[in-house]
Symmetry: C2
Subunit: 376 residues, 2 copies
């Protein structure tokens, strides 16, 4: 246990109390909706946090890379959906996990992928559970909720390739402007997926899993709707400025920050220069299109108290520039050389991915270092 002031910078800081509160909220939310919660582990990629979310059980959970699946399965978290459309060359690694006792399910949205998985299972006597990906809002991949091609996809799942259900992600909810828009996105995602479920059921394919989710729709869903069996949410473990910008959390709920040091000033411009650049913060400018642009992040003191009016205006690779949002002059040298500041990120996922692990902070003490599983 050491003081946060003694950390080298830039470092990734995780406020344990806020993390616990955010996780408890999600668990309560799932109970309230009467659904299974399948947290998306891609935001934190950390066994310690997954165990808190899952109360020590083996799942259910969601991952975004095969490497995450390998990392979490090795830690006993084995009920997983790898929620990125499968590239067939990745099946061997998935199969190896399942043979070792995990249950890693995959998703796909096209006939060639279904046939490739079936071919793989036949050739290797493998069993792999498959969900069909549905596109509820035009965000990226998936079949439209009423597209009969999904029946052909399901029929193409043969041998050990087992049809398990349907999955969608209301990715457009991140671009919502009001709570009403998020509530509508939640309703739309549930009803779209229910339509797909019904279309498949009519053709004889029963869905055991009907999986929806995004942090905004999970937080704002009015009720459980349609055939939904489970919700996925990722960034809600930490929250971030994009989520605060759409009203899904408050700025003070954000559990993740980057500790930086003051390395200089441009007094004439009222700039503070720090050692927190874009390799630490990421290049994500997700708040740029929101009603309040937060630059590359908002600024807190070393204890996590927001300093009103300041923001990180620009980043270079290893430099950050802090100034007042309104550009007005202030006493920049009140933030002395080597002063530690904490920067709240626009988007927790890429910011966390810049680091090997979390400095877990309680009060002003670092009480643990939790590793992450980066890359692929």
């Amino acid at each position: 246990m050491s003081s946060i002031n003694r950390l080298d910078t830039p470092s990734l800081i995780l406020d344990k109390k806020k993390l616990e509160k955010n996780i408890a909220f999600a668990q309560a939310r799932a109970r309230e909706l009467g659904v299974v919660w399948r947290p998306h582990l891609k935001t934190h990629k950390c066994v310690e946090i997954a165990r808190m979310q899952l109360s020590g059980t083996p799942g259910p959970a969601t991952v975004s890379t095969v490497r995450e699946a390998e990392y979490f399965a090795a830690a006993g978290i084995t009920d997983l959906i790898y929620a990125v459309g499968i590239a067939p060359h990745k099946l061997a690694r998935i199969d190896a996990l399942n043979r070792a006792g995990a249950d890693v399910k995959i998703i796909l949205d096209n006939v060639p992928a279904a046939k490739a998985v079936s071919d793989f299972c036949r050739q290797h006597q493998s069993n792999i559970g498959v969900l069909i990906e549905i596109d509820c809002d035009g965000h990226r991949s998936g079949l439209k909720p009423h597209d009969p091609v999904m029946i052909e996809v399901a029929r193409s799942l043969t041998d050990g390739a087992r049809f398990l259900g349907v999955l969608t992600h209301a990715g457009e909810s991140y671009n919502a402007r009001t709570t009403e828009e998020i509530e509508a996105a939640a309703e739309n995602e549930a009803l779209a997926l229910t339509a797909a479920r019904d279309l498949l059921a009519a053709a004889g394919f029963e869905s055991r899993i009907v999986s929806v989710g995004s942090t905004p729709t999970f937080v704002r869903a009015q009720k459980r709707q349609g055939a939904v069996t489970e919700y996925r949410s990722g960034v809600g473990a930490f929250y971030d400025l994009v989520m605060a910008g759409i009203g899904v959390c408050k700025v003070e709920d954000i559990a993740l920050s980057v500790l930086v040091s003051v390395i200089g000033w441009q007094e004439e411009k009222s700039w503070i220069i720090t050692d927190g650049g874009f390799l630490a913060m990421s290049r994500d400018r997700g708040t740029a299109s929101q009603s309040v642009d937060c630059g590359y992040g908002l600024v807190c003191d070393v204890y996590g108290n927001l300093i009103p009016d300041l923001w990180v205006k620009q980043c270079n690779q290893e430099h950050g520039v802090i100034c007042r949002r309104d550009g007005k002059p202030f006493d920049v040298k009140a933030y002395g050389l080597d002063t530690k500041l904490r920067i709240l990120p626009n988007h927790a996922c890429p910011t966390a991915a810049a680091f090997e692990g979390y400095n877990v902070v309680e009060g002003d003490n670092v009480t643990a270092l939790w590793p992450r599983c980066n890359r692929w």
Copy 2:
């Protein structure tokens, strides 16, 4: 040695021939200008590449993190400038390197930092070489070229804190629109630094090192000007779409790319979906403000041949969307499931930082895996 087609995706690809050509160009450029070349290793963070740049010598070179300094010094590359204004808590790590035989120089632009370094050197009987950072173009940190505070900074360097010279970075040259603008930036950076050198010399502080540079100004400087002794350049080892956009290289000079796989399509929208998202490409949108916006990257076949008209229009964490730049329909399924494509990055530095190492490619064979030194 194995085929590039057998790599898992996303993976980082380095074209060895292009790398060698880019390095040879930089070495010839330095000879032509009659200056020392001090490559900035922050782009590649890779010992193998640094050795090629330095022809096996111990330097000179530039780094952007203390961790890079530690990594390169351990590999015998010991003549280094850590070119980010010093945070005093980092001095212990710098000092440890210098006591072990390295010569890691630091930079600073203010009196408190100069005093902190001098205090450190007095307390620990240390020797640390110091350059004063000059701001030639308002880009970020540094003292103005005629600011007499620099004399006070130099005077504050006492005990083992040795004044060595001046350094600037023409960071605004990245935003140039024409070759003439870059040539002017090169002239400005050289003359600004010469003015600072002269101001210090008049006060009795002789500069042994007068260090300028950015890839654009290094490539486009018309001649050696003023008191310049050395040029730094980083991204020129790989180049990228931002550099191509300002005419500093051609698209076909770009040595770095990200290998991705096709995982699906949205036929109605003429979208190809890949497994190359923003954790692989980075969120850098540096070409967005250029005359040709390249989205999240341009698209090549697996052998590195540019596919005209295609770009990566959007990225999510682990998904990329490829379409035609003009939005016109095309036969997306001609790019079959699991087809490998190579994406050229906007900005080589953050894209490379997403990976643990480089798959070095000659023709269609992977002939080596070179590690990187990420983080801090």
